[in-house]
């Protein structure tokens, strides 16, 4: 029960997937402790800290109670079974109470029932302990100490242990006691990764009398190479990427993949052909973001395909850009397309030019170009903001065919309303694969479908669980735990 969450992760890690990483992530053996208390090892200290935080915040209380029980029993402390039963009973009483006033009373009773457990945990703590903060970049240490009766304030001091150098204790912070709360402090002030530190905490009472509570052994802050909170998410990423890669390989082996038609994409050839017939240019707008936006990258990939068709049809293509880097990358892309189409002589670098970084300066210039050159076809492929409608309405006036593709949800309404074809979100990314016509690229689209199936599966299972929890009052059963586990552990991106 106690390490249930870790057990599942351990099983997965046991598959060999991440074994070396998990071994490297073992906490250091020594944390040091002073005074009484049964918990001594850094690992247990860290767990006690996690459990205490959970009990105090009241989040996922069922799980934390189970962990607290296991932790206490592991250290030879056993509370009467009736005590545990009482907490669970109060918890149920609170969760199933609908009247707000009575619910408040139930909450108070629950808090009171949790107190003896917290006290038992406090009693098991060392007077002062310190350990390396989990899942951090090696700049934090956590100091945890047992509450001291009558303390008005705690002084936390730190000693930087440097061999061969005289160093003194320095006070890093003072902390005021919070009733019913754990006494912990995350020290992230000027911690050097390689240095060893000792901490000591003193309590100051109402008379200003200082009592030294204890002193820790040496601790070092280490950076973790893998954040285990994100394990569930990593598996998610691996499954998704795996699906894409598997389908790409299947396609390379010659497996036939069927992909539905995407309206806007079938129009590309036609639109380029129209430009040739009318003897007017094609205008390609790659959005207003720089190369660090993936939409711009996707837009340029589409540009590559469009330019190739244009080169084959001998149509002129013009690409004004709003960023210097995009201009550079677009020139590479178009030059390659012309080369691949066997028309390197027709490539004109001057048609791909930088206008200005300013969003609206760019729009003013592009709309001016539209009105003066009356392009037969306009492509808007990339990241767009407010300018979307200005571009689309101006080009509409000049009678151009307009094909838009963007993954800016806010601009989709305008493109949908004003353009002939719009590639909505995912379709825009699919365009780059679809237009290439290469089978392995189509494979990646299948991989995306697997991702969507996965979403549906997760949402479906989650919804069923959540509905059961809500209707059948199963929150305090394994169903509630499963839902908790799914939402809190598996779907945890670790705030990153």
């Amino acid at each position: 029960m106690r390490r249930r969450g870790r057990l599942v992760e351990g099983l997965i890690a046991g598959l060999g997937l991440l074994l070396p990483v998990s071994l490297a992530a073992q906490p250091p053996p020594m944390s040091g402790a002073g005074g009484a208390g049964r918990i001594r090892e850094a690992r247990d200290l860290q767990e006690a800290w996690e459990v205490l935080s959970g009990l105090i915040s009241g989040e996922r209380l069922r799980l934390h109670l189970a962990q607290a029980r296991a932790l206490l029993e592991h250290h030879g402390v056993s509370l009467p079974a009736a005590e545990w039963e009482r907490v669970h009973q109060k918890l149920r009483a609170r969760d199933y109470e609908q009247n707000p006033d009575r619910r408040k009373t139930a909450q108070d009773e629950l808090t009171a029932a949790v107190d003896p457990i917290k006290d038992a945990l406090f009693a098991a703590l060392p007077a002062v302990g310190a350990f390396d903060a989990p899942n951090d970049d090696g700049t934090k240490l956590i100091v945890l100490w047992r509450p001291h009766a009558g303390a008005q304030q705690y002084l936390v001091e730190r000693l930087d242990v440097r061999p061969g150098r005289q160093t003194n204790w320095e006070q890093i912070r003072t902390a005021a006691p919070i009733p019913g709360s754990a006494f912990e402090l995350t020290d992230d002030s000027r911690i050097y990764p390689s240095h060893r530190y000792r901490y000591r905490v003193s309590a100051v009472d109402a008379q200003g009398q200082r009592t030294l509570l204890g002193e820790t052994g040496e601790v070092t802050a280490t950076a973790q190479w893998f954040n285990f909170d994100q394990l569930g998410f990593l598996i998610f990423v691996l499954v998704l990427c795996g699906a894409v890669i598997v389908y790409i390989q299947a396609a390379q082996r010659g497996v036939r993949l069927t992909i539905r038609k995407i309206a806007g994409l079938d129009a590309v050839d036609e639109a380029v052909g129209r430009a040739t017939e009318m003897g007017r240019p094609i205008l390609f707008v790659p959005g207003i973001q720089d190369m660090n936006d993936i939409q711009t990258v996707a837009g340029l990939i589409v540009l590559g395909r469009v330019a190739r068709v244009a080169a084959e049809h001998d149509a002129q293509i013009e690409v004004p850009t709003s960023r210097s880097l995009v201009m550079t990358a677009a020139r590479e892309t178009v030059a390659t397309s012309y080369l691949n189409a066997g028309r390197p002589d027709a490539y004109d670098e001057k048609k791909i030019y930088y206008v200005t970084d300013e969003q609206f300066g760019y729009v003013a210039a592009v709309t001016g170009t539209m009105v003066r050159e009356k392009p037969a076809t306009c492509f808007y492929m990339g990241s767009f903001f407010a300018e979307s409608l200005i571009l689309a309405e101006t080009a509409n006036l000049t009678g151009s065919i307009q094909i838009a593709g963007t993954a800016q949800p806010a601009q989709l309404p305008f493109f949908v309303a004003a353009c002939d074809y719009t590639l909505i979100g995912e379709e825009f990314f699919a365009a780059s694969a679809y237009l290439s016509g290469e089978p392995q690229q189509l494979g990646s689209l299948k991989g995306q479908d697997v991702g969507k199936l996965l979403v549906m599966l997760f949402v479906f299972v989650g919804t069923v669980l959540a509905t059961l929890v809500e209707t059948a009052e199963w929150r305090h059963t394994v169903v509630g735990d499963a839902l908790d586990y799914m939402v809190q552990r598996v779907l945890n991106t670790g705030g990153g």
Partner: protein
């Protein structure tokens, strides 16, 4: 087809432009105003700022630019005024390069005018702009001084009383974000508010608002949507503090009621847009009938 319908079917859109220009210009010249009732989303924000104890730390992140100033400045001013009224400590910060100018403009027009007793560095501070978009947020939630070694004016951050002991923005009681796009409210929610439980309220342009709805109320407690939100906030503010909207002589203070004032032309222009949609469909129906008859 009768000539009127023919004219409408092939309507030159410059007539639409002219209509729109008149719809906005006339209410401005005649100063038409309409009543506002604060909606719950706005009310929550107002009540939250109102109920915080004096001296609470509030982070005002101004992530907009001159382009969206008409839409967002009224709410930025109203928030700043309200926070100053409640004697909160104000930390201004910007993720957009031109944000510091927006901050300075707000400070000049609100704090220096109505709260000349507020001292820079003790009651408010302008941390200025740092490049890096959401990267900046990720840093300041853990260690502010890693990125902000000086304020906007180049004063070392350790020399400023307000920021001397500030480790990171997790110590804030509230984040108020005025946002015109990326990076903005969404990033503040994702990287600061949700992971570290800092209450956040957003004020955004009309385009953004629909995208922020999914975050209410779990990840964000309130939202001021564009000028309408600002107008409602101004209304709530002047109901509570009459001196906000009128000076001692009872004269209107237009620079503080811009939201309400701008709702006039908005309303008329909205009706014009609504009318245009209806007209478009009437034309469509008549045109179809005319074609069928022909």
């Amino acid at each position: 087809m009768n000539p009127a319908l023919k004219f409408l079917v092939h309507l030159d859109r410059r007539w639409v432009f002219l209509l729109m220009a008149l719809a906005v210009m006339i209410p401005i010249i005649w100063r038409m105003e309409f009543p506002e009732i604060p909606t719950p989303l706005v009310r929550t924000v107002f009540d939250r700022i109102e109920s915080l104890p004096e001296g609470s730390r509030i982070l005002l992140a101004f992530d907009y630019d001159p382009g969206s100033e008409p839409e967002l400045q009224p709410m930025a001013s109203a928030w700043t005024w309200h926070c100053a009224k409640k004697k909160h400590k104000l930390y201004f910060l910007a993720l957009w390069p031109v944000g510091p100018q927006m901050i300075q403009a707000t400070v000049d027009s609100v704090l220096k005018r109505d709260y000349p007793q507020m001292r820079y560095g003790e009651d408010y501070v302008n941390l200025g702009y740092k490049s890096g978009n959401e990267g900046v947020i990720k840093v300041v939630v853990s260690n502010l001084k890693e990125l902000y070694t000086t304020d906007h004016f180049g004063t070392a951050i350790n020399d400023i009383p307000l920021t001397r002991d500030l480790v990171n923005i997790r110590g804030m009681d509230l984040i108020l974000n005025v946002s015109a796009g990326y990076p903005g409210t969404k990033e503040w929610i994702q990287y600061a508010s949700t992971p570290y439980n800092i209450p956040i309220a957003g004020g955004c342009t009309g385009v953004q608002a629909p995208l922020l709805y999914p975050y209410i109320p779990n990840q964000m407690f309130g939202l001021l949507g564009a000028i309408k939100g600002a107008a409602e906030y101004e209304k709530a503010l002047s109901d509570q503090y009459p001196e906000y909207a009128r000076d001692a002589a009872g004269k209107r203070r237009p620079e503080f009621t811009k939201g309400i004032e701008r709702m006039g032309p908005q309303l008329i222009a909205h009706c014009v847009v609504l009318g245009l949609i209806v007209l478009g469909n009437v034309i469509l129906a008549l045109h179809r009938r005319a074609l069928r008859a022909a």
